[in-house]
Amino acid sequence: MTVRQAQGEQDSSEFAIVVEGIRNAFGDHVIHEDLSLKVRKGEILGVVGGSGSGKSVLMRSIIGLQHPDQGSIEVLGRSMTDPAAPQDAVDVRSRWGVLFQGGALFSTLTVAENVEVPLREFYPEITDELRHEIGRYKVMLSGLPEEAAAKFPSELSGGMRKRAGLARALALDPELLFLDEPTAGLDPIGAAAFDALTLELQETLGLTVFLITHDLDTLHEICDRVAVIADKRVIAVGTIDELVALDHPWIQEYFNGPRGRAAASAQDRAKAMDIAAKGKA
């Protein structure tokens, strides 16, 4: 039995994140009302919703940057909202990685130093030499050339900055990865490459991924399930096929609008080509 399996048993659940009945409000403006969501271990869950529907606020609530007014949140078996166990919320931080929308790299540190920040924070006993090595191979794992390790964030392009942010999110070998609109602002080639990278890392490292996106191609390509936020709560969770079968105006508009259809048919074409190629072989 491995330690991670042991921890899994301690968690005693198949879910990495359990959000139950939370309410978030800024003044009179209610963002979430009685919102519940469960993220299974090992899946890539896409979260969609209109602009301003509270996707980012949900992520911020889960990672403890925003305290919900009501309800409970459990991450990897630890409560984020239980005032009796504040240490839980701190301990769990070394087991997740977060990629913010703009990368949120520390602008005065180089890429490699950015990756080393969480290592330095949580494992001060690691020698400088090993830490530098870890920094460099994480940079390589996130798909950047190794020369990029010594560069400052301001010297990188938008896509490279996202990858550098991902390298930092992966610094502690997390079990859970939060991605906030990872492909926004990338060109289609860069976005597709980032999707492929996310999928590859998820498979290699066995990650659970919580992915906020507007990118329909990303949803079709890599997400196991999709959660839809509308009317201040999660109205549906399921595979895209399951969601399309639902009779909700927003979901219909989202997946069957011109862009949704284009992404779906691109996916179908890709599958058809796959099958054709296999047939030939």
Binding site: T2, Q10, S107, E125, L130, I134, M140, L141, S154, D173
Partner: protein, 389 residues
């Protein structure tokens, strides 16, 4: 009862977990064929490997085989260290799990060596480089300053030719920010400084029995020098820094570029109202500050020197010549212009990152205060020379 035993079981379990988590180990054995076998065992995670890494680095070769069959779990850090051993000792691996194989494959693309910062040139090269950079920065700074002033004069000329371009609303807003909102803090500061001057002056003058001259000291010093000087420093700290930070942030978020493309001159919209507001407000604030300082002095005299409050104020009229007020009112707009120009200029020079905004804001305040004090010294000599001593 049941709950209790479950708790106990959980505690034992956690303890076992804790023990397991601590173990990452290795051993060197003879493999029976004259070679040496390195056996890696336990849990190889980022949390367990910190201290082991140092030992593994100094491991003496030659190692003929690395066995990983006793390794119960690993993450990429464990995989990296294992990969480094495999690479450095050029030893074949046995007994690796599928997960280990996958992770080692993933990390093996990295060399793991190289710079993590842009390389620093040697000292002999670095020092001249640094000095040269400072000199050239002064040069470009001077040119940029001229550029900025030229652009400002041009904007003012445009406004004079076409007065409807003048932004009254922005000016009023800046007057409020620079002038009205600082009344409280300037009053507090001036009142306290007035008390200090009167009190310290009285202590010294008492030695000559000339305590009554405390009134001259407080009145003339506040009116002529301290009122406007302290106000300049306060405005530099409050408004000059705000100008630099606001305009600098607008540069970063490309708001200034957006203005230019729409056809709005940033000089007209941002700089002229701020400079004008500071020039208008500074003499008023300086005069106000002097009055409050005098009231502070009078307040102290009433209680500590037995000079009645209103006697103090009447004497002020007799001992402070009118030209002291003119000195302050002439210096005011000049100092205001310096503070605002330093703030706006530094703000407009921001490019790159958030750190730059901080550096430029600091530079704006330091430059403004320095220039104000230097100019104040010149003014002091000048006004004495022209007979306003």
């Amino acid at each position: 009862m049941q709950g209790c035993s479950r708790l106990a079981a959980k505690a034992i379990f956690a303890h076992v977990c804790e023990a397991m988590r601590d173990v990452a180990s290795y051993s060197l054995e003879d493999d029976g064929k004259g070679g040496r076998l390195l056996r890696l065992s336990g849990v190889w995670l980022v949390s367990t490997l910190g201290s082991l890494d140092r030992e593994l680095r100094t491991l003496e070769g030659p190692i003929t085989r690395i066995d990983m069959s006793d390794m119960s779990d690993l993450d990429t850090v464990g995989a990296w260290i294992a990969w480094r051993l495999i690479r450095d000792h050029e030893a074949p691996v046995t007994g690796q799990s599928e997960e280990a194989h996958r992770l080692i494959e993933a990390v093996s693309g990295s060399k793991g060596t190289g710079d993590i910062r842009p390389p620093q040139p040697p000292l002999l090269q670095w020092v001249p480089d640094f000095v040269g950079r400072i000199v050239s920065n002064w040069g470009t700074g001077f040119v940029n300053m001229l550029d900025f002033l030229g652009e400002l004069l041009f904007a003012i000329w445009q406004i004079i030719r076409e007065p409807r371009r003048f932004r009254v609303k922005a000016l009023v807003r800046q007057i409020e920010l620079v002038g009205v909102t600082s009344l409280g803090i300037i009053a507090l500061m001036s009142f306290l400084v007035g008390i200090v001057i009167a009190q310290q002056g009285a202590v010294q003058l008492r030695q000559f029995g000339a305590e009554i001259y405390t009134i001259n000291l407080t009145g003339r010093l506040s009116m002529r020098e301290l009122g406007v000087l302290m106000t300049s420093i306060m405005v530099a700290g409050r408004s000059g820094s705000a100008f630099a930070a606001q305009i600098g942030t607008m540069k970063l978020t490309e708001e200034v570029d957006a203005m230019r493309t729409i056809g709005v001159s940033p000089m007209e919209a941002l700089v002229v109202p701020r400079v004008l507001a500071a020039m208008l407000m500074m003499p008023l604030l300086g005069f106000y500050s002097a009055l409050v300082a005098i009231i502070g002095g009078a307040f102290l005299s009433t209680f500590a020197l037995d000079i009645p409050f209103f006697t103090f104020l009447t004497r002020i009229q007799e001992v402070v010549p009118t030209h002291d007020m003119w000195v302050a009112l002439i210096k005011g707009p000049v100092f205001g212009a310096i503070v605002a120009l330093a703030g706006c200029y530094q703000g407009m020079q921001v490019k790159g990152n958030a750190e730059e905004v901080g550096l430029r804001t600091t530079a704006a305040v330091v430059q403004a205060i320095f220039m104000v004090i230097v100019l104040d010294a010149f003014f002091a000599i000048f006004f004495t020379e022209v007979g306003w001593g």
